[in-house]
């Protein structure tokens, strides 16, 4: 079942095209990371999905409700972490959460139970009676996340969820997201933290100048934009002429005194054949392993291609 379906969503502010025919679908219980440079249209997309901004054209449904026809129902199904935490600094955390619980029409006992449990989960239970003005930046961010989760929404739209957090707090948040994902909650996360996005997201969407320029699972995007898996072979001793000796088996991309790197379209066939050849040449192999590809590599390549720069010549596919 698709929890978020976006079709050709467009937003124009006066003469500025902020979001240009964005289409996405996010299945129940999955995480989509929306990446892109500042001003790419991430926040505007999230605001349209929260029915804060109306689309100029296109449609979307969230949890089965239409963002144009049923805005109140959509907002009831969504927990939002906004770009700025926007807390009321004169209130205590307990009052703040009680206020939002009332807004979401939670019963008094439920409000208190949910607030206490979430505050505990994020390590804030000791700060319940503290005024929010006294909270640190990271605590404020965590409280804003608690607010977004307070009404137990099936969909969470999180704008930079771990920004301003220390590593421990950021891990707490990531763990919470993974846990909630297991509980069939659906996430749309916008972030500049590519490691985090790679770790959490089932689907990556890269948006630039309002357009989605890449969309898919990380592995698909890596294959499409960075190429086939890159393998590295390291030998015990320096060698001469190995590149030439294996050129009929693999296309070597780079090499050193005791290593070569090559693209393996079919590692199950190529790697054993290569190992046999190297052994036959009397060279001892220390390791043969894939060079890890990161989302950063993918992202930079996608953006580079979209900028119209020459495509990566090393890309095979």
């Amino acid at each position: 079942m698709l929890m978020i379906e976006v079709y050709e969503l467009t937003k124009v502010f006066d003469d500025f095209l902020a979001v240009d025919r964005v289409s996405l679908s996010i299945p129940t219980g999955s995480v989509l990371a929306l990446l892109g440079p500042n001003g790419a249209g991430k926040t505007t997309t999230v605001r349209m999905l929260t029915c804060i901004l109306g689309p100029t054209s296109g449609t979307a449904t969230v949890a089965g409700y239409d963002i144009i026809q049923q805005p109140e129902r959509v907002r009831a199904q969504v927990g939002v972490l906004t770009e700025q935490h926007g807390l009321y600094e004169r209130m205590k955390a307990v009052e703040y959460l009680d206020f939002f619980g009332r807004v979401y029409r939670l019963e008094a006992a439920e409000r208190r139970r949910r607030a206490l449990s979430l505050m505990e989960r994020f390590g804030l239970s000791n700060a319940l009676d503290k005024r929010l003005g006294e909270y640190s930046k990271g605590m404020k961010q965590k409280l804003a996340l608690v607010r977004a989760m307070l009404h137990n929404p099936p969909v969470l739209l999180l704008d930079e969820p771990t920004s301003a957090m220390d590593p421990h707090s950021a891990k707490q948040v990531r763990d919470a997201i993974i846990e909630l994902q297991r509980d069939e909650r659906t996430f749309l996360i916008t972030t500049h933290n590519l490691t985090e996005a790679q770790q959490l997201a089932n689907t990556i969407a890269i948006i630039r100048n309002g357009r989605i320029i890449a969309l898919g699972a990380f592995e698909e995007l890596a294959r499409q934009f960075v190429g086939e898996p890159l393998m590295e072979l390291r030998t015990a001793t320096p060698f001469n002429g190995l590149v030439k000796d294996v050129s009929d088996l693999v296309m070597v991309e780079s090499s050193g005194d005791d290593w070569i790197r090559y693209r393996a379209t079919d590692p199950y066939t190529t790697n054993p054949a290569l190992l046999r050849r190297v052994a036959g040449l009397g060279i001892d192999v220390v390791t043969l392993a894939p060079v890890s590809q990161t989302l950063e590599d993918v992202y930079l390549q996608v953006v580079k291609e979209d900028e119209g720069e020459p495509t990566n010549g090393e890309r095979s596919g």
Binding site: M3, D15, C51, R73, V78, D183
Partner: protein, 509 residues
């Protein structure tokens, strides 16, 4: 699992029945109000003036009243003393409500500035619930202070040395005035807040509220001192008129506020800077665009068909309202002329030959050219003034300024008929050019009304700003395409043809 999660969130925001819907809206609004009021009472900058104005200032006012009464009584001017006491009651009531403006600006634009509005906008609350909640929260603390201050002041005067016995209706009037003034300031502040992103800019723009309110208070003070019916048990008539006028203003401001207080407007605007060039470009494009194609018109005919007629279609309702007001104005003038105290002493049986002789001098070309210029300029500036004033009065000024001439016409017609004179010359003098001029004036007035009123209910899918710019584009289109050519033609007929037709009906020429 997912559907269970979806069900976990309450979504029954739609209540059946108008009563239930209203209760639901109000109860949601009060959630906001409670939080905001509590927050206001935590701010010493708000609490301190409220306490001072509620508990200290009334005693000062009472002391001043006592001293002033004794002083003026010494000179035999008891009346001034008597009128000062209710005047000070109004002042005691007004000072605290001036805080409502500060709270409203803080509540709306302050939240925008601190970015705490977006989480609230992401909740299921409707725009109306948010608007009502915030409006009430800006009004309740200052109004409580105001009513408290007035109670303290009256108590000290009633039970004090002066043993003041106020007219109950006057007290009711002052309380009503205070309440509507608070509403005007708060609803005005919402409009101001929506146009800014910083408290500083909002405070600067707030002078658009403060200055008219100050003038109003001065007017009310003058009324309270000078009104001949100041002691009337039904209250001061002029104050009732002010209250009714303020209620109309509040109603219009509430409508504008409710239109403006929407998520799109609140978050869509990111800068306070005016992009005049961009605005001019957009308006200009709207003026020359053919609506069906969205492209600039290639010929005059295409522009009229696809642009001007589309604009005329949008002002249809305003045109019917204008026609209705013009007819009423004509009828009012006629009825007024029937009242004995308004009748003119016309020579009932006298000949109009002298008039004909005077008129004949206006039938030579040189005076006619001057007449043409004068008529064109006169009509154009009245319509221009009506349009400009309509922008700042939700269109009301257009319906006040232009119909005035129809009141005069109705009045003159009644006088002519009462004098037993054949009104044919009058019809000739009005209708010859009126055939063109009256429809043009109706269209121009309706366009001004539409331009002013569009902010109270923007067309669906448009923000207030977009709607107003589009309406301004329509106004320019109609102005260039219909009103200006119409006025030129009407002035030409009035200068060159109308005098001759009138002469004919008078037997001259």
């Amino acid at each position: 699992m997912a559907s269970a999660a979806v069900k976990a969130v309450k979504t029954e925001t739609i209540q059946s029945g108008a009563g239930a819907q209203f209760r639901w809206t109000l109860s949601n609004a009060l959630i906001i109000t409670r939080r905001e009021v509590r927050d206001s009472f935590r701010d010493w900058r708000i609490i301190a003036p409220i306490v001072i104005l509620t508990f200290l200032f009334p005693f000062l006012a009472q002391f001043v009243a006592g001293q002033f009464v004794s002083y003026v009584t010494g000179f035999g001017a008891e009346l001034i003393g008597e009128r000062t006491i209710p005047f000070l009651l109004m002042v005691v009531g007004f000072f605290p409500i001036s805080i409502s403006l500060v709270i409203a600006l803080e509540t709306f634009v302050g939240e925008k500035e601190r970015r705490s509005l977006e989480p609230l906008l992401s909740t299921p609350l409707t725009n109306t619930e948010l608007y009502i909640g915030k409006t009430l929260s800006a009004m309740i603390p200052p109004l409580l202070s105001s009513f408290g201050g007035m109670a303290v002041y009256m108590g000290s005067l009633i039970f004090g040395e002066l043993a003041w016995r106020p007219q109950p209706m006057l007290v009711i009037q002052i309380v009503a005035l205070t309440t509507v003034q608070a509403l005007v300031m708060v609803t005005g502040a919402v409009v101001v807040s929506s146009q800014t992103t910083s408290t500083r800019a909002a405070n600067l723009l707030a002078s658009f509220i403060i200055i008219p309110m100050t003038l109003l208070i001065q007017g009310e003070s003058a009324v309270m001192f000078l009104a001949p019916d100041a002691e009337s048990p039904t209250g001061i008539g002029a104050l009732w008129a002010i209250i009714v006028g303020m209620v109309v203003v509040v109603t219009l401001l509430l409508r504008v506020g409710n239109s403006i207080f929407n998520r799109e407007e609140l978050l869509g605007r990111t800068i306070d800077q005016l992009n005049l060039k961009g605005m001019a470009r957009r308006i200009w494009r709207h003026v020359w665009t053919v609506e069906t194609t969205g492209k600039p018109a290639r010929s005059l005919m295409e522009w009229y068909r696809g642009g001007v007629f589309a604009s005329l279609g949008r002002i249809k309702m305003a045109a019917w309202i204008t026609v209705g007001v013009f007819v009423l104005a004509l009828a009012a003038g006629f009825v007024l002329g029937q009242r004995p105290e308004w009748r003119l002493t016309l020579v009932a049986t006298g000949s109009l030959s002298e008039t004909a002789t005077n008129l004949s001098q206006y039938t030579n070309i040189s005076t006619q050219l001057g007449g043409f210029r004068f008529i064109l300029w006169q009509n154009a500036r009245v319509l221009l003034a009506a349009t400009l004033l309509a922008m700042f009065s939700f269109g009301v000024a257009a319906l006040v300024l232009t119909p005035a001439v129809y009141v005069v016409l109705g009045y003159l017609l009644s006088q002519v008929l009462l004098a037993g004179v054949n009104p044919a010359f009058m019809f000739a003098g009005v209708l010859t050019h009126g055939v063109v001029e009256i429809p043009v004036i109706v269209i121009a007035t309706a366009t001004a009304l539409y331009l002013g009123a569009v902010v109270t209910k923007p067309p669906k899918g448009m923000t207030v700003g977009q709607a107003w710019m589009a309406a301004l584009g329509d106004t320019i289109r109609i102005g260039i395409g219909v009103v200006l050519p119409g006025l030129v033609l009407a002035a030409a007929i009035e200068a060159y043809i109308t005098p001759r037709v009138v002469l004919l009906t008078l037997g001259g020429g």
